[in-house]
Symmetry: C2
Subunit: 706 residues, 2 copies
């Protein structure tokens, strides 16, 4: 079999995903959007979300062009490593394509989500099952777009560079690597900007309503309410999509780079995909994962009265199980039973195809286990949130102490799982094993992301039901979907962090190989200093994000106050609020505030790298371990506060007492939830990107500093 046939098949898998996504998107579009009031509200949300993305992409457009020009000229001069040319000005093209694919994935996801939300509301008027179907379909379009664009972009670049140039495979892979940089840059700004937007609007709407008018946050009289709903789409949907796009692409590229270390060992082997097998394996696995995700999506349906949670679990875990089987056959087909290779970092090592398969399984399994651990610490039904709810009785301070404690505790188990995964995957197949474990974890991203994005769509659907004053049973159905969405969101967040960690490690290993480093000795002073500075970065970065949310929500509160003062009849509900002004304010604030943390993440590794590549190695290790833990701490504390509040609101018994809305305990729980908002939706998830971005910047500049 000609290996080129395989290289053609890879982008085709991407195309299949996109076609399937388009079919589903059209199906969603054909659903009835409901009453005029519903259409109007949904229209306002959709316009706001598009306005934000337009403005965001305009700013990012300049940035991307500037970096592309820089990459072009910096790579003008050919650089050699071990006597082989490794760069080309074409890295600018890879970068541009990466940025474009990432941006497009975010746009498509957001577009379908703002159509699916109102249609989910309308479907919920008929029943739970149709509503689940619409919401999940919306999510699936997002999920398949992300993986489809990822594989299409990477696969096409590989095909083009490999066919049209006489470059060595190492050079091809190196030049492709900046695809990941493009994706990461967009992802960082999308996650940070979206996170600031959504929480500025959320905190602003909530506090402004309280401070000025005693009006709840999703009351149509609250001028910030549309901005709040827009935020769910640009933050939770587009932000999460960009995050996983980056992990997906990063893990594949990291593995490809490490795969080039086996070229000599594979030379002359009789394999269907030739000597490039270890380089192509991650692409093929990802391509197979797309088909598995599509298959898994058919497992998600429920009858009226059935459990949406079970339906989603069946899709997700079913897809993982199928993937494990498929991965076994793919690996057996592509790799020889065993081979030996000497790579710069690991040294001489005996690899087996079975070992690689075990590494993939370890990746798949650790993703699931980190998700389950996240669920335990943040679910409404488990002891940690019970403890927080209990501590709410004595006021906001004890509620918050307790939530911070839960967040801190919750880092322990994921740290053990990740440590075990690193050691296990490495024992199975060296650093290549660690990287391929990340690919394994992310291979079913298509359906994983569908289940994630389903959450904010349901959340939005509930908001629309409230604003359009639909009957309570509709809201009850969307609430049921939303509650399931909270759990899937928690699992998804754990998964995002776990995959970010493994991806960062894959990129880290790839960086070391490309920079010609065999060891990063933390006993060396500049490496230790790098480690310390790297570990401090997540703190400073989070602080910037939190401060940005604070400033942006202040702007929002002031604007709401202005409207209540200046628009006669707004308070009484006889005049309409100027929603668009609030949308503007969130948009302007998010775009203004995303710049500084974004530049921090881009500039620091470059500066440190040119001071010393060893120090950059220390920085990478520091930012990865510190960032992963700080992200888990923040995300889980935030999730636990949120569900402790829900626990009180939904009237679950706490030590035999039912507290409920309006009690002092509930007020304390609301304070905790507000603290948790920027934790879990702005600074926490942004750290995923931070660690991957810094690793990929290092990888891209590696040939320059080697």
């Amino acid at each position: 079999m000609n290996y080129q046939l395989v290289t053609y098949c890879i982008p085709v898998a991407g195309v299949i995903a996109l076609v399937f996504a388009m079919v589903r998107a059209r199906w969603v579009n054909r659903q009835d959007p409901g009453t005029d009031a519903m259409i109007e509200i949904a229209g306002a949300i959709s316009r706001g979300a598009r306005a934000f993305l337009r403005r965001e992409y305009r700013v990012l457009g300049f940035f991307v062009l500037a970096v592309a020009v820089l990459l072009f000229f910096v790579n003008w001069q050919e650089r050699t490593l071990d006597g082989e040319v490794v760069n080309s000005p074409m890295v600018a093209i890879s970068f541009l394509v990466g940025a474009l694919c990432s941006g497009l994935a975010g746009f498509i996801g957001m577009q379908v989500a703002t159509r699916a939300n109102v249609r989910t509301t309308h479907a919920a008027r008929k029943g739970l099952a149709p509503a689940l179907n619409v919401a999940f379909s919306g999510g699936l379009v997002m999920g398949l777009s992300v993986v489809g664009l990822g594989i299409l972009g990477l696969g096409s670049l590989f095909l083009i560079y490999d066919n049209l140039t006489d470059w060595s495979p190492t050079r091809v892979v190196n030049v492709i690597a900046s695809f990941s940089l493009g994706a990461s840059s967009i992802a960082l700004f999308a996650r940070v900007g979206g996170g600031i937007y959504t929480k500025a609007a959320d905190v602003g709407a909530d506090l402004a309503g309280k401070v000025y008018a005693g009006i709840p946050e999703d009351d149509p009289r609250n001028p910030a309410t549309i901005a709040d709903n827009v935020g769910d789409n640009v933050g939770d949907v587009a932000g999460m999509g960009a995050d996983l796009f980056e992990s997906y692409v990063g893990s594949i590229i990291g593995t490809m780079v490490l795969g080039t270390g086996f070229l000599a060992a594979f030379d002359g082997m009789d394999l269907p995909t030739g000597m490039l097998s270890p380089v192509l394996l991650p692409l093929v696995l990802a391509g197979a994962g797309i088909l598995v995700s599509v298959a898994g999506s058919f497992l998600v349906h429920t009858r009226e009265g059935g459990s949406p949670q079970k339906a989603l679990n069946l899709g997700e875990f079913g897809a993982s199980a199928i993937m494990a089987v498929v991965a076994f056959f793919v690996i057996r087909w592509m790799l020889p039973e065993s081979w030996s290779a000497t790579t710069p970092i690991v040294g001489s090592f005996s690899y087996t195809s079975l070992g690689v398969f075990w590494a993939v399984l370890i990746g798949l399994a650790s993703g699931v286990f980190i998700g389950l651990s996240t669920e335990y610490f943040t679910s409404t039904h488990t002891p940690p949130t019970l403890e927080i709810a209990r501590q709410s009785v004595t006021g906001p301070a004890t509620n918050i102490i307790s939530g911070l404690g839960v967040g801190m505790y919750s880092t322990g188990i994921p740290a053990l799982i990740l440590a075990g995964a690193i050691i296990g995957a490495h024992a199975c197949a060296g650093l290549y094993g660690v990287a391929i474990a990340a690919v394994g974890m992310l291979s079913v991203t298509g359906i994983q992301l569908a289940v994630d994005a389903y959450g904010p769509i349901s959340d939005n659907a509930g908001g629309i039901a409230e604003m359009a004053k639909l009957p309570p049973e509709v809201r009850a159905r969307t609430d049921k979907l939303d509650a399931v969405g909270n759990t899937t969101a928690a699992i998804g967040k754990g998964f995002a962090i776990g995959s970010a960690a493994l991806t960062a490690l894959a990129l880290f290993a790839a960086f070391m190989q490309q920079a010609g480093m065999e060891t990063i000795n933390v006993a060396a002073p500049h490496i230790l200093a790098g480690l310390l500075l790297g570990a401090a970065l997540p703190y400073v970065f989070s602080a910037m994000a939190m401060a940005a949310v604070g400033r942006a929500s202040s702007d929002m509160i002031n604007e709401v106050g202005r409207q209540f003062n200046e628009i006669p009849g707004l308070r009484e509900g006889t005049a309409s609020a100027e929603y668009a002004r609030c949308v503007d304010i969130s948009t302007a604030a998010a775009i203004r505030e995303m710049i500084a943390p974004g530049l921090l993440a881009l500039v620091v590794p470059v500066v440190i790298g040119f001071i010393s590549k060893d120090m950059l190695g220390g920085l990478l290790a520091g930012v990865t371990v510190s960032g992963v833990l700080f992200a888990i701490f923040q995300s889980n504390a935030g999730g636990a506060w949120d569900n402790a509040k829900k626990r009180i609101e939904t009237g679950m018994s706490i030590d035999g007492k039912v507290l409920g809305k309006g009690t002092e305990a509930h007020k304390a729980a609301v304070a905790g939830d507000t603290v948790g908002d920027p934790f879990k939706d702005t600074s926490g998830p942004s750290l995923n990107i931070l660690i991957k971005l810094i690793a990929v910047v290092a990888l891209v500049i590696a040939p320059l500093i080697a």
Copy 2:
């Protein structure tokens, strides 16, 4: 000059410190303790503190004996490294002496603090200057006892082992190392136990007063009020003392171990202290520092109407300046102008005595700068606390988001300072330079700790003035002393963290040398796993401490409720509260709750070490960087919340408005302060010990796992 003369002089410096401390303690005792009411209150505090220490030491006694027996038998068999015996069952003796000295230092400090507090109150009836004098004298007794016992213990052990055995210097130093383990174990339990005690009592007294009776926390009718005051002594005085005792001793031992790497290079050199010069240098510098601290203490006095802050600064910075000059001459006297040595980790390196001096200066300066950075982020007069105060207007949630942000930001500058110090000190004198920088930073611990301990004494003095219903001008004077104490406490905390970081690095380097490791490559999977697990430890450890405070303060709240229900007339002030029961509850809770985090810190490095010494190396690096940053984050967030509250309480203008007590903003600020309490007084400072203890455990087990 015979080097033995110097070895005799070292313990003599310790004796001088102790004699001087005794003279000052007797002077404090001779001061008038005031009215009968004051004597009664002070007596209750003193009894409570002693009761706590007695029970704590009983538990620790068993623990220390058990570990000593274990160390004795584990080291029964002689172990060789490079053909040289490096251990001896006598490590058990070093361990016992270390534990004893640490415990004794805590006891003396606590004893004098509980006498100085009431005498400070009485002196404040006359004026500010005499009150400052009493409070500072109390602190000085503590400071000099710590350094005196440290040097006396270490110096005597060295003298005894060196004179009475035929051991090689390497073996002598190795056997002494477990002195530090003894000190660390006691310090950990003292810091954690004391921290839990003080915050359980503080949070409990505060919330119980509010929940049950609307009675302020320092009202005599509040049954938890004595426990609260006891807490200041056992937590802030004894805990801080044990912490710095450990840093002091650890940095000296780390440097001595690294100094043994130069034995071959120094063999036959014509130096006053012979080939042992680099081993003895840290001891001699510390001894000189004692004399400098004593000299500096005479600089601390103020006239009536003068500024206590200036007086304390003069003492502290004056002592640092003198120390710099003294260090120059000591180093010139003890070390040759230059030498070359090949040590296992650093390899071949050219050292100079001037380089060693610069390293000491770098240590001294970074301590000061970290302190100043801490002051900026936590002082009542600086922008960060203004921002928190401003965010208090919109409620507890925004206050807390803002405080968490300040804490996160505040890690950046200390990380840069420490990174610079590591690189700078290493460039000056290799790893020995990093270790001696820690000794430099800690050389004036005597006066540094005096200034630290002065704070809680003044705080207690104010509490006694309130409870004894003294006239408002007395309280005004103690408040003025206390406000200065908050700043010195902040600087002291920064100093404690910075010195802990450098000490941990010194011990880390010493561990690597003793375990025969040249490199700790973070690209190796088990080292990376160790790094990750190490980085997670501070989170889990902090979570345990926070949860312990939560449980203990619940116990306290329930007990206060019981007393208000069962004691007729308590609410009206006609019956007396059962203070002793509350003291008992805090004591029991602190002792029960300190066990689990303490064992975590001791067991994890041993288990990991026996799995793989490389993984232990990764663990050390991870726990050090993560712990330092997490400690700074927690301590500074806590300090900033506290002073943001003070800013509102003292009527400082915020954006042109004066908020003051009783406003909603003040309530929000109180919530923030309560969250900050366990952050800054329990979990945050305990991390200092955690990182040092894990490093010293590694050092002590190094010969076993080498």
